[in-house]
């Protein structure tokens, strides 16, 4: 993956910046140019506004992965989940700070900023969100923050200090 391809998604992958339809108020992640919920889709064109997810959510389903995706070889076995954000959208991501066997449906989690994978020893390092159990607060830059959507997307994390 080229640097540009990953870099252009930085606001989404680092900060969970989504979108909300100003017609029907449905929240989307990743952001969408047009609202799939509105009955006549075209009425939402140009009316999708930026919306910041809080990072709070719960596990809807999960798997413990033993045959990894490319670049995830060093992390097996790892827990992968679909998380429902409190604002509505569902996301796929790893669950960390927990023994994979302890991940359960209904587990309350919050997003945490982590290293996703490295493209070899000298390649690009990809960062983005993973999720950690809520009681394990204090491990990520956004940990412990209130579930209310923040109006401005803060970029407070220093990627060089993040760990997988």
């Amino acid at each position: 993956m080229t640097i540009a391809r990953f870099w252009r998604e930085t606001p989404r992958r680092y900060n969970l910046s989504g979108s909300r339809c100003s017609v029907c108020a449905t929240v989307y992640f990743p952001p969408r140019p047009v609202c799939p919920t509105c009955t006549t889709h075209r009425q939402s064109l140009g009316k999708m506004e930026p919306f910041q997810l809080s990072g709070e959510g719960e596990v809807v389903t999960y798997s413990v992965v033993h045959e990894p995706a490319l670049g995830f070889e060093m992390q097996v076995p790892y827990a992968l989940a679909i998380v429902r954000a409190v604002e509505g959208p569902l996301l796929t991501g790893q669950i960390v700070n927990v023994v994979p066997e302890d991940v359960k449906i209904g587990l309350k989690v919050h997003a945490t900023f982590r290293k996703l994978r490295e493209e070899g020893a000298a390649g690009v390092i990809h960062y983005g969100y993973k999720f950690a159990p809520k009681e394990e607060a204090g491990t990520g830059p956004r940990a412990g923050q209130a579930a209310e959507p923040a109006p401005t997307p803060p970029l407070s994390s220093d990627p060089s200090r993040a760990r997988a």
Binding site: F6, Y62, S63, V65, A69, T92, G93, H126
Partner: protein, 389 residues
């Protein structure tokens, strides 16, 4: 729209075909279909070729004219069209070929499906097929195709009490059927215990819940039903060919244990064919992962939502009830050369409807259904075929 018939079928051995090239297998299946249908290549109107990822697997794009060329037909200057829909590429090619003949644009077309997956390493091949899911919002975060399906399985177990052994029942059945299919990738039988305790790929799915990476090709010859008897004594009518799509990412679906693409393609197909699920004697169900086959039975309406696990446990579709599934061995055991799968499913149905399935024959088979899925269900294709008496 006029009625369309399948006049000929062809299929290569599925498996790890180290000694055979992409063009060899593509041509073999196509010629078998032409010869079986007794059609002169001078009467051919065109070629539709289902293939998912020749560029990634073989560093060769633009493969439809390539196959046509090596079939000796370059001089006829026929149209040759490649069709891609992930794991449903074969069925989608069939859909396009069907529409072309039904519309009257062409009279006779060969629909082929071919994939050569073993010329790259297993790791590379997995990366290529994972890309039928959403690369940017699933794979980048550590998802793989089997782990996404594993999350469908986990959710289904949670919602409906489906058990691990219910998932394992289909691979056991598939291997049993494939043991009677000389063209199948795997001819060995497996036990419930072996499937349950097979090495974990993505919990709860083990390696024996997952279809293999295979090489292989399959083809059918299509023509108008009204002139079918000139070419074959046993024409099979395409009673329905329907496609439906859904969100690319699994996490954006309305319900994580339902493939709405299958629900809609199925409903449209039953409506077009004027049949209901209990009218189907033979069905080839996409069981790329054991859970995929289980939810497909629900989504196609063969059982109610949530009852797939019990149906598998009772073996209701393994020869006891009105519908017998995956007589070929399914994707799990007949093999999964991605672009060839959807065409191979229909080849098996035609064998069954003609009464040529030998040891695997389901007696009195009149109506068959094929179900082929791309990715985690962003595309589903449902085809209904019927014996013409």
């Amino acid at each position: 729209m006029r009625d369309v018939a399948i006049l000929g079928i062809g299929m290569t051995k599925f498996g790890e075909l180290w000694d055979r090239s992409f063009r060899e297998i593509g041509i073999e299946a196509g010629f078998q279909a032409l010869v079986d249908g007794k059609l002169s290549s001078h009467d051919l109107g065109g070629l539709y070729l289902g293939n998912m990822a020749s560029g990634a697997f073989l560093e060769q794009e633009h493969i439809a004219p390539l196959i046509l060329d090596y079939a000796g037909l370059a001089g006829h200057h026929l149209p040759a069209i490649r069709v891609e829909a992930g794991g449903a590429s074969g069925a989608m090619a069939l859909h396009e070929g069907y529409l072309a003949v039904a519309s009257g644009a062409y009279d006779f077309v060969v629909v082929g499906g071919a994939e050569k997956m073993t010329d790259v390493s297993d790791t590379e091949a997995s990366r290529i097929v994972d890309a039928t899911a959403d690369t940017e919002w699933e794979l980048v975060f550590g998802a793989t195709l089997p782990s996404l399906w594993a999350m469908v399985a986990r959710k289904h177990m949670h919602e409906y009490g489906t058990r691990r052994e219910d998932l394992a029942a289909l691979p056991v059945h598939d291997h049993l059927m494939a043991s009677k299919n000389p063209l199948a990738h795997f001819r060995n039988k497996v036990s419930l215990d072996q499937v349950i305790h097979s090495g974990l790929v993505a919990d709860p799915l083990g390696v024996l819940d997952c279809a293999p990476l295979s090489d292989g090709a399959a083809a059918v010859l299509l023509g108008p039903l009204e002139s079918a008897r000139k070419y074959t004594d046993t024409p099979v009518k395409i009673a329905a060919s329907q496609v439906a799509c859904d969100t690319m990412a699994l996490h954006h679906r309305r319900d994580l244990t339902t493939l709405d693409s299958t629900v809609f393609a199925g409903k449209r197909a039953f409506s077009q064919a004027r049949h209901k699920p209990s009218d189907i004697q033979v069905a080839e169900i996409d069981d790329a992962y054991s859970i995929a086959g289980l939810v497909a039975l629900e989504d196609l309406g063969f059982v109610a939502k949530g009852e797939g696990g019990v149906a598998m446990r009772d073996g209701r579709f393994f020869g006891k009830g009105p519908t017998h599934i995956n007589t070929s061995g399914g994707l799990k055991a007949q093999g999964r050369p991605f672009g060839a799968v959807g065409v191979a499913q229909v080849v098996e149905l035609v064998r069954q409807l003609r009464g040529e399935a030998k040891e695997r024959q389901v007696s009195g088979a009149q109506v068959g259904l094929a179900h082929n899925v791309g990715g985690t269900g962003a595309t589903s294709v449902v085809t209904v075929v019927e014996r013409v008496n």
